[in-house]
Symmetry: C2
Subunit: 714 residues, 2 copies
C-alpha cells in the first residue's frame, strides 16, 4: 500500500462524480436506499447509477457498466452480491475510478471464499492505486450521504468513524436526536485498504473537522498508528472508544470481526503514548466529542465550583476528587472579593455556594471574580444550577455565555440539574462554548478529558523525543541468539543471558561457562570469590534436585572439585538424554553483605499490536501474588518514561528510603529499563524476558540482575 496516499482519500470526501454500482428501482434494496439518501442529503455533484438491466433509475439515466460512463468517476459505491465484486472492482480500476466503497458483506468475516475475494480486492486496489473503503460496511457520509443508513445528520465539525455498522446506525440516530452535526460519518467495515489510521491522518488536515471520534474494535498496524495518531492529536483531539477490553469482550470482538484483538493493557498504554483521549463508554464518546468541539482547553490545572445548591456542590467535589482533578484554593484577595459581592451565608471558598435564592446577577458576580484570577489560581469552573423557586436558568445561562465570551481563557462547564426547566438554557450554553450536562458527574468527566488534552499538548511529540542510545555490543548478542536458534533452544542458558546483559551494560552477576576442571579453577581465580557453580544443560530444569548446584565456592581448588562433582552428579542423576554443555561459574551475591537489598521484578513481553512492553514491580518469590507491577510500551521510551513507570509501583517508595532507611540505586534501575528497552527494540527475536529478582542495593552499592530468563522466537 506504499504507493497509495492519504491525499487520495480526498475523492471520498469531496467527490464531484459518484457511480452507484447495483443501483436499483426496487424499494428496500440497498442500491435504492443509497440513491435516496444521496438525493436527500443534497449531494451537488454528478451521479451515475449502474445497472445492466435498467435504462433509468429514480429519474437518472442508468449505465450498463461503469466502463460506459462518459465521465471521470471520483467515487464508486458498490452494493452488488459479493461474488460479483471482484470483477466490478477490476472494472473500476480500468476506468481509473479514484476511490471505491464496498458496502456488500460476505468477505473476510465469513471466511473461506469470502476471505479469498477480499485478498483479490486488496490486490486490485494496489494494482490500480485505488483507495477502498469496506467491504462489509454501511458506507460513508461526507459531502453527500453515500450510505444506506436511514438518517442524514446535519453538517458540523465532528468526524465520526465506526468499525461497527450497527454501532454507526445507533450513533447516527442518537446524534440526530440530539442535534449534533458532523463533517464526516464513516463506517470502516473490514478495512481491506483504508483504515482508521488513514482516515485520522486525512481528517487531521481537514479544516471542516475539529474533533475526530471513533469506535474501533482493532487496530491494523500499531507502528503506523503511533506515527500518524501522535501527530494528529497535536492538531486536534482524537477520541477513541475501543471495545473488547475484557477477555470475554475480546473473544466476542475477534469472533465478530475476525481481527486479532490485542490485550487491553497494550491499547491503554498505546492510546496514552499517542495522545488519544479514550472514551470508556458510548456516552463518553459523545460527551467528549461535543465538549472538545465547543469548550476551551484549560490554561491551568486548578478548578472551581460555583453552585446555588450545597448538595450538588458536594457531589461535584466528590466527582472531581475521583477523577483526580485539581481543586482550586482561592487567594485571600479572591475570597475578599467574593465576600464583598455575595450574601453572608455564602461559602466563599471552593466550592463557592451562592445560596438557593441566587439571581442571575449573583452567578455573574461570582463567576466574574473567578475569571479575573490568574490561570494558575482558577483555570476554569464547573457552574452548577438547580432550578429553585427564585432561579432563572435561562437568564443565568445568558450571563454565563457573555462571561465565557469575555474571558475566553477560562474553561467553563455547566451542570444544570433538572429537566424541562433547564433544557433551553443548556442549549444556550452549549452554543456559547460551555458544554453543559444534566448530571455533574458528566461535567466533571469531560473537564478531566480537557485537562488530559491540555497536558498532552504540552508534551513533546513522541517521535521527536530524545531516546538515549547506549553503546552496546549488538554483534555479540546477535551471535548468542543465532547460536541458540541453531541449537533449537527457545530459552537461553543462564550464562548466555548474563553475556547479553553484559553486552548492553546491565549489571548481572558475572558468569562464565567452563567445560573442563582445569578451566574451572583458572577462570574461577580470574573471577574472584565467592562463586556459585551450576550445571548447564537445556534438559536439566531442576538443577538442585540432581546435585547440580554448589554454593559458596571460595578457592580455585573448590571450583575444580565443584566442576567434577556437578558433572558426575548430572551424568548419574540427570535425564538420560541430557546434553551436558558444561558448568556455569557465577559470581555469588550475598544480600546480607549489603546495607539494604530490595527485590524487583523487571520484564518484557511482546504485544501483537504495539511491540515490546516493559514491566517493573515488586519481585521475589511472591511477585505473582503481590501484583505490584506497572507496564509501558518500549516505543520511544526515554528516561522520563522510565521514572514515571517505576513511580507507578508501590515498591518505588521503598527504594526512595522509608523509615530512615538509605536511598536505593534508583538511577541504576532506570538505567536497566532504558537499556532493556534498547535491547528488545534491537532484537525482535526476544519475545519474552524476565529478571526476578533484580536485587537493588543502596546508591553506592548498585544493583544486580540476579536471575534472568530470556525466550526467543524459534
Amino acid at each position: 500500500m506504499a504507493s497509495k496516499t492519504v491525499k487520495q482519500l480526498e475523492a471520498m470526501f469531496h467527490p464531484r462524480s459518484v457511480a452507484i454500482i447495483g443501483a436499483s428501482n426496487k424499494e428496500g434494496k440497498i442500491g435504492h436506499i443509497v440513491i435516496k439518501n444521496m438525493q436527500n442529503s443534497n449531494f451537488s455533484g454528478k451521479f451515475y447509477p449502474i445497472n445492466p438491466k435498467s435504462e433509468e433509475i429514480l429519474g437518472y439515466k442508468a449505465y450498463k457498466s461503469i466502463g460506459d460512463v462518459p465521465d471521470e468517476i471520483d467515487l464508486a459505491v458498490i452494493c452488488i452480491p459479493s461474488k460479483f465484486c471482484v470483477a466490478v472492482v477490476e472494472e473500476c480500476g480500468k476506468k481509473k475510478v479514484k476511490s471505491v466503497v464496498i458496502i456488500t458483506a460476505g468477505f473476510k468475516e465469513v471466511g473461506g471464499e469470502g476471505r479469498i475475494r477480499e485478498i483479490k480486492i486488496q490486490e486490485l486496489g494496489i494494482k490500480y492505486k485505488m483507495r477502498i473503503l469496506g467491504p462489509n460496511c454501511l458506507g460513508l457520509i461526507t459531502n453527500g450521504n453515500f450510505s444506506f443508513a436511514s438518517l442524514t445528520p446535519k453538517k458540523g465539525n465532528i468526524a465520526m468513524l465506526s468499525q461497527s455498522g450497527a454501532m454507526m446506525t445507533g450513533l447516527l440516530d442518537w446524534a440526530v436526536n440530539n442535534d449534533i452535526g458532523f463533517s464526516a460519518f464513516i463506517s470502516l467495515g473490514n478495512k481491506v485498504d483504508a483504515d482508521e489510521v488513514d482516515f485520522i491522518e486525512y481528517l487531521a488536515n481537514d479544516d471542516n473537522t475539529k474533533v475526530i471520534a471513533a469506535y474501533i474494535e482493532s487496530v491494523e498496524d500499531g507502528m503506523k498508528f503511533f506515527k500518524v495518531v501522535s501527530a494528529a492529536t497535536k492538531k486536534k483531539p482524537v477520541i477513541l472508544l475501543k471495545s473488547g477490553r475484557s477477555a470475554a469482550g475480546a473473544k466476542a470482538a475477534s469472533s465478530h470481526t475476525g481481527a486479532l484483538a490485542g490485550s487491553d493493557i497494550g491499547f491503554e498504554l498505546a492510546f496514552k503514548k499517542a495522545g488519544v483521549i479514550r472514551a470508556d463508554t458510548i456516552s463518553d464518546l459523545f460527551n467528549y466529542a461535543l465538549t472538545f468541539l465547543v469548550a476551551q482547553i484549560p490554561k491551568g490545572d486548578k478548578f472551581a465550583i460555583v453552585t446555588n445548591a450545597g448538595g450538588p456542590g458536594i457531589v461535584t467535589t466528590d466527582a472531581m476528587d475521583k477523577e483526580k482533578l485539581g481543586f482550586a484554593q482561592f487567594s485571600e484577595e479572591t475570597i475578599n472579593l467574593l465576600k464583598e459581592k455575595l450574601p453572608a451565608e455564602s461559602n466563599f471558598r471552593n466550592p463557592v455556594d451562592i445560596i438557593g435564592d441566587a439571581p442571575p446577577s449573583r452567578y455573574e458576580d461570582a463567576i466574574e471574580i473567578l475569571c479575573q484570577t490568574p490561570n494558575s489560581e482558577v483555570a476554569g469552573m464547573i457552574i452548577l444550577l438547580t432550578p429553585q423557586s427564585q432561579t432563572k436558568p435561562l437568564l443565568v445561562a445568558k450571563k454565563i455565555a457573555t462571561l465565557q465570551k469575555k474571558y475566553p481563557e477560562k474553561t467553563m462547564i455547566g451542570a444544570f440539574i433538572g429537566g424541562v426547566s433547564v433544557q433551553e438554557s443548556m442549549k444556550v450554553l452549549i452554543n456559547s462554548g460551555v458544554p453543559t450536562y444534566a448530571f455533574p458527574e458528566d461535567s466533571v468527566k469531560v473537564l478531566k478529558g480537557l485537562t488530559y488534552y491540555k497536558e498532552l499538548l504540552e508534551k513533546p511529540l513522541i517521535t521527536e523525543k530524545l531516546v538515549k542510545n547506549f553503546k552496546v555490543d549488538k554483534d555479540k548478542v546477535k551471535k548468542i541468539i543465532d547460536d541458540a536458534k541453531k541449537d533449537h533452544r527457545a530459552v537461553l542458558l543462564s550464562y548466555e543471558t548474563s553475556q547479553i546483559f553484559e553486552s548492553y551494560g546491565i549489571k548481572a552477576p558475572k558468569s562464565n561457562l567452563v567445560q573442563t576442571a582445569r578451566d574451572a579453577a583458572e577462570i574461577a581465580e580470574k573471577m574472584g570469590f565467592p562463586l556459585v557453580a551450576k550445571i548447564v544443560s537445556p534438559q536439566i530444569i531442576h538443577k538442585w534436585d540432581i546435585g547440580g548446584v554448589i554454593l559458596n565456592i571460595k578457592t580455585p581448588d573448590e571450583a575444580r572439585n565443584a566442576f567434577i562433582s556437578i558433572m558426575t552428579n548430572a551424568e548419574r542423576l540427570g535425564p538420560r538424554d541430557a546434553r551436558l554443555v558444561g558448568v556455569e561459574l557465577q559470581e555469588m551475591i550475598i544480600k546480607e553483605d549489603k546495607l539494604k537489598s530490595t527485590e524487583l521484578i523487571i520484564g518484557m513481553s511482546r504485544d501483537p499490536n504495539w511491540g515490546p512492553m516493559l514491566m517493573i514491580g515488586s519481585g521475589g518469590i511472591y511477585a505473582n501474588y503481590v501484583k505490584d507491577v506497572a507496564f509501558d510500551l518500549a516505543y520511544h521510551f526515554d528516561r522520563e518514561d522510565a521514572r514515571k513507570l517505576l513511580n507507578q509501583t508501590k515498591i518505588s517508595k521503598i527504594l526512595e528510603g522509608v523509615r530512615g532507611e538509605p536511598v536505593s540505586d534508583i538511577e541504576g534501575v532506570l538505567d536497566i529499563l532504558e537499556k532493556l528497552s534498547q535491547l528488545v527494540n534491537d532484537f525482535s527475536d526476544i519475545v519474552e524476558l524476565d529478571i526476578n529478582p533484580c536485587l537493588v542495593f543502596t546508591k553506592k552499592e548498585g544493583y544486580s540482575a540476579v536471575d534472568i530468563k530470556i525466550t526467543i522466537k524459534m
Copy 2:
C-alpha cells in the same frame, strides 16, 4: 425520642387536616407557594391557613393562630421567620397537632442563636410527642404537595428522600421531565427529629412504596440505621446516594450541613452490611430507582446478551466483565435450538448475535429459547437493539413485552441505542417491566444492582446472625483499662496488652512484669527460654536507644542480670522524669525455627458513625507502603465475615500456600478476628488497636501476635 413512634409519621403521609402557619396572599412568598402547590396537587383533606393579619387567604378562611382552628390538625406546615418558630411550635404542641413540618431556615446551619432555637424545638417535639420534619427544608409531597418546590410529580411507587433541598428541586424537575411517579418526596432538612432512618422504617411498611431512594450527606445514628435499614432492605430495595465520599467532599458536606461526616469507607461497609444499594452518581440513583420499580429480581446469576449488532454486543460484554456480572455459557441443547431458529451467520454463543437484518420474530425466537433454559443457565438477558434499516423497534419492544409477561422468572433489561427511532419502544418496554436505556453500560449497571439485591435477599438478616461468644475474662481487661485510666496512660504498656489478649484467648508471646531482680530470675524460669527483657516505662518510647532491651535470655541468671542492667541503663540514660515501672519479660519468637512465617497486620479503629472497624492485611515494616489491607465493621461480625475479610487481601493467597509451601494457620487468624471483634465490642474505651506483626506459622505451629498497641479513651 423514645416515646415517639414511627407510626406517628402517618400524620405526614395521610393528613386529613393541614394548617399552614405563615399562609400568605402575596405571590412569591413561601406561605403562598405552599398553598398553591397544595391546591394544584388536589389535596382532598381539610385546610386551615394561619395568619394573624388576614381574614381570608386564597379563598380559604384564615385563622389568627393555630389555637383558633375548630378542628384537630394532623399536619402543620410552618413557614414564618425563624425567630417566631419556637413559640409557634409550642402552640402546635398545646393544640395537640400530630406532626409539624418546619420549612423555615436559620437554625443549626447558621450556628449561634439558630442552634439554640433548634434545640428548643427538639425539646418541644419530645414534650408534646410531635413528629417534626425539618427545619430548613423544602417540605414534603405525600397525599398533597406540602412543599414550596415548584413542581408536583405524578403519583407512583418510588419514595424519595433528600437531605439537600436544592438537590430535591433538581431531582423533581428531572423526574417530571421523565414522567416518573412518586409515593412520597421528602426534603429532610436539619433532621431535628424525623430523620432518614425514621422515614425508611415508615416507608418499608407503606404499601404505596415499592422502592425507597434517598440522597443523604450524613447519618444521625449508625446503630439505629443498622437495625432499621437492614430490616427494611429485606422488604424493598433501599437505594442511597451518599455524598462527601472524598476528603474534599466531606469537608464541603460538613461546612454545608454542620453534620460530622464519617469516613467514606465506614459508609461503604455499613451500606453493604445493611443491604443498601449504593448509587455512585445522581443518574445511578434514578436508574436504580426506576429499574427496581419495574424489573424482575434475577433468580440466578448468569446472564445472556441478545443483539442485532456485533459492536454493541462487545461493548456490553466488556461492561458486564467490568461489573463482574456472570456471563452465561449455553448448554449444547440451547445452542442447537438457536441454530435451528437463527440464520447461519448468527452467533449462537453468548453474546447471541441475531444479525443486522433481524426482524421482530427473530428477536422473539432467540429470547424465547433463552427463556426456556433453567435459571441456573440463563437468569436473564440484556436485549440490545440498534435501529438498522430492517429493524422495527416498536414491534421488537412489543414482542419483548409479551415474552417478559410469559416468562416472569427471567430478568430482561433493554439497551436500545438511538434517539427518535427508539423512544416510543423504550417506553413500551419500561411499562412492561423491562427497564431500557440508550447506552448498554447503563443497562449493565442496573442489572448489577439487581443481582446485588438478589444476593442480599438470600443472606440472613444481619441482626439474626449467630455471632460466636467466646469465653473470656472481661473483669481482668476492665481492671487493666481502669488502672491505665487512673494512671492517665492512653497507650497501654506491652505486658498489659499481652494480658488483655490472653484474657480473650488470642495467642501472643507470654509476658510478665517483674519488679525485682529475684522475681526476674524466678519468673523467667517458670516462663521458659529464650526470653526478651524490656524496660517498662510510659515515658521511655525508644527502648533500644537507652539500652532498655536485651534479647535471647537463656537462663535465670541471665534474666537477673538483664533486669539489673536494664534498670541501671534506664536510670542513667532515660529521661529524668521517667517512671520506671519495672522490666517486662517476654517470650522470644524465633522466626527461623518455624517452617513458614508470614507477617500480618491486624487492627481496629472506631468510626464515629459505625463503631469499631476491623482491619487485616500484609504486615511488617513496609505495611504502610504495601497497602494490602481490607476493612470490615465489627457490628454482628461472624466467622464467615472474618473469612471474607481475610480473602480480600493478597496475603491470604500466601497463607493458603503457594509454590508448594505449606498452608498457614488460617483458622487461627480467623479466631483472632472474631475474638478481637468481641473485645472491641465489649470495651468501647479501646479506641485503637494494632498488631504488627502478627506472625502466622503453619497450621500446627499457630500464630503469635508479636507486637500489640492498644490506645484507650482518656
